[in-house]
């Protein structure tokens, strides 16, 4: 298990760096399957966008913290802001996308994306700010790939 922490100024240009670091780390450590790295990258990016907007809404120049923890068969990323906090369930619901009125809503797609892309997404408000905890399960062989299951067994025998 390892832990890695990154702090960025609450400014949009730094989110690209977070994406680069988190996706490189996930690929290099083979913590999650390759095809999940894009999901992780987008979910983390969305959470950072929300965090930075939360800081902007209160004029805070405090850093946003991104903490990556790799455990057994799981990768966890926590994005912590010092904003005023929000309750995801209290967010306004949008009309369905097929409703012409949906075009009046250009925002509000970030949280549904996070929830769909990752295995678990928790929104943890506290008096100091909000932490979004994103979890992906499974190693590189996840997804029922039989060949890699066999390869893994062969490699295990060699040890």
């Amino acid at each position: 298990m390892y832990q890695f922490e990154l702090q960025i100024p609450p400014s949009p240009e730094y989110i690209a760096i977070v994406r680069l670091v988190v996706s490189s780390l996930a690929s290099a450590r083979r913590a999650v399957a390759d095809e999940r790295v894009d999901d992780l990258k987008l979910a983390v990016s969305e959470a950072c966008t929300n965090a930075i907007e939360a800081h902007a809404s209160v004029g805070s120049s405090e850093p946003v913290t991104i903490r990556v923890t790799e455990g057994d068969e799981r990768l966890e990323v926590e994005i912590t802001d010092r904003g005023p906090g929000f309750l995801p369930d209290a967010l306004p619901t949008h009309p369905p996308v097929t409703d012409p009125a949906r075009l009046n809503f250009e925002r509000g797609l970030g949280i549904p994306l996070i929830k769909t892309l990752v295995d678990a997404a928790e929104f943890l408000p506290s008096p100091e700010g909000t932490t979004v905890r994103i979890t992906l399960y499974g190693g590189p062989s996840d997804g029922g790939d039989e060949t890699s299951e066999i390869l893994r067994a062969v490699l295990a025998d060699d040890e």
């Binding site: 949009p12 240009e13 989110i15 690209a16 994406r19 894009d38 990258k41 987008l42 990016s45 969305e46 966008t49 930075i52 907007e53 369905p96 996308v97 097929t98 949906r102 075009l103 009046n104 809503f105 250009e106 925002r107 797609l109 970030g110 549904p112 994306l113 769909t116 892309l117």
Partner: protein, 112 residues
């Protein structure tokens, strides 16, 4: 991080806007400005080519939805060119594949 925005005239009445790079909360405002500029120039049939896009987040989706809305209110339309599965996935998850016409090439979009 640079966002590439190239405008080319397609067969009338189409205008093609080719986007390259990463579209996120930092770069999306430039995409929005370009779309607003094109609409104000009277370009009301815009094809946004996303083939050169490496990353697209909800802010980028929001800008495209805003562009579509602006064009439809001018009796125009905004269609997309995209074949990359990781970008298409974002449209699918959000249900926006039902809102946008998505083609696999600029030729396909102009032939529609």
């Amino acid at each position: 991080m640079e966002l590439g925005l190239e405008v080319a005239e397609g067969p009338a009445p189409y205008t093609v806007l080719a986007v390259k790079g990463e579209v996120d909360v930092y770069t999306a405002p430039r995409l929005r400005e370009k779309l607003v500029e094109l609409v104000s120039q009277g370009k009301h049939q815009i094809i946004v080519d996303l083939e050169g896009v490496d990353f697209l987040d909800s802010t980028g989706l929001g800008v495209l939805v805003g562009g579509l809305k602006r064009l439809r209110s001018n009796d125009g339309d905004l269609s997309l060119v995209c074949t990359q599965s990781r970008i298409l996935k974002v449209f699918e998850i959000t249900g926006l594949t039902k809102v946008f016409s998505i083609y696999d090439s600029v030729d396909g979009a102009t032939a529609s």
